[in-house]
């Protein structure tokens, strides 16, 4: 589940404003797509599958970048609760 944050676009990148922690995060397009897929209803595997579909690549290709983005979002406390 995503922590409440305001999302902005800057070029092809994303900017997340964490209003509770008063922090700002820059997301590359992959991390931005992962953030959008983390709607609270998907497991990590489903997020990988969703990212693979979005970029039309095999899941094995999408997985490393996707898991790295998930790890970043979790480390920043932007995701609340485990995603499967």
């Amino acid at each position: 589940m995503r922590r409440p944050a305001v999302e902005r676009r800057l070029g092809g990148d994303g900017v997340l404003l964490d209003l509770v922690g008063r922090a700002m995060y820059l997301l590359n397009p992959t991390a931005l797509a992962v953030w959008e897929l983390c709607d609270g209803g998907r497991t990590a595997e489903e997020v990988v599958a969703g990212l693979a579909r979005r970029y039309r690549v095999p899941e094995a290709t999408a997985a490393p970048g996707c898991l790295a983005a998930l790890a970043f979002l979790e480390a920043a406390d932007l995701l609340v609760g485990a995603e499967g």
């Binding site: 305001v6 902005r8 800057l10 070029g11 990148d13 900017v15 404003l17 209003l19 008063r22 700002m24 820059l26």
Partner: protein, 295 residues
């Protein structure tokens, strides 16, 4: 509250201590100073001469109880009063101007300087030091207007760069680099906290150029970085996300309204070209700015 009572608020002051008074208009806010230290008020008056305003009520008052003319007040020896609420100064933030106190905290506050021509401003962003002073002065010598020095305030609503005409602070080395004689009549010496001597100067008296008093649209953001003295100055374009990261690092403090402030930073980076400037030898960077961004 009487002046004496304001001064008594600051630790160490006596109710009948003599005090000096001044009013400054800073970021559209009237800031009053009541100071038992004449030396301190004299220094602020030199540094912020262009901000002095006619006597009258103040929205923010800085009261200094310490009467020493040579030492800066210690935490607890001064207070800042806004809307009748007295806050003893704890030394964590600058005492004057108290940019952390509302309503002075409304604008985005970026470290650096701004120069311009024809209603457009180029933001020169870096920690205030000799390099940014040299660049701002050298650019003014080429005919640009100075819009802000020491701080670049940006209105979070319309993203206009707000004039901030703080006096230039010049070291001996900077004056030598710029070929300015130490006996120039525009130079006002002062002793630094470290015991050295530096000089304040108003650019119009020193350079013959003038402050611009009109808010201007940001046409470029330039982040100063140390260059290789053996190579010429270089401008390298930055992607918006790189500009945003650097801009955030150059914030003097987080905006009081976090979301509005951060939104403004994102919008500024989305529409304003940004560059890193590798300075190179003195003089090269000013010529490069002149040719590339101010022509």
């Amino acid at each position: 509250m009487t002046d004496a009572a304001l001064l008594a608020t600051a630790a160490g002051a006596t109710v009948d201590a003599p005090s000096a008074h001044a009013i400054f208009r800073i970021l559209d806010t009237r800031v009053g100073v009541i100071s038992a230290s004449v030396g301190l008020l004299r220094q602020w008056s030199a540094e912020y001469a262009e901000f002095r305003a006619r006597p009258g009520p103040a929205e923010v008052t800085v009261a200094v109880g310490s009467s020493s003319d040579t030492d800066r007040p210690s935490p607890g020896e001064a207070a800042v009063i806004v809307d009748g609420i007295v806050r003893l100064w704890d030394g964590a933030d600058e005492l004057f101007p108290p940019l952390w106190a509302p309503p002075l905290d409304r604008e985005l506050q970026l470290r650096g300087a701004a120069v311009g021509r024809a209603g457009h401003a180029v933001l020169l962003l870096a920690e205030p030091d000799e390099a940014i002073t040299r660049l701002a002065v050298a650019t003014a010598l080429h005919g640009a207007w100075l819009l802000a020095y020491g701080l670049v305030p940006v209105d979070p609503d319309d993203l206009l760069v707000v004039p901030y005409p703080k006096a230039l602070t010049l070291s001996r080395q900077t004056l030598e680099d710029l070929g300015i004689d130490l006996a120039h009549p525009a130079l006002v010496p002062f002793r630094t906290a470290a015991g050295g001597i530096e000089w304040y100067a108003q650019p119009d008296a020193l350079l013959g150029s003038c402050w611009s008093r009109v808010a201007a649209e940001a046409s470029a953001m330039v982040f100063l970085e140390p260059g290789d003295a053996g190579r010429g100055a270089r401008l390298q374009e930055l992607r918006p996300r790189e500009a945003l990261a650097r801009l955030t690092a150059n914030l003097l403090r987080m905006p009081a309204d976090f979301q509005a402030g951060m939104d403004a930073l994102v919008r500024l980076c989305g529409r304003t070209p940004a560059y890193r400037l590798l300075a190179g030898p003195p003089g090269h960077a000013a010529r490069l700015l002149e040719d590339s961004l101010l022509a």
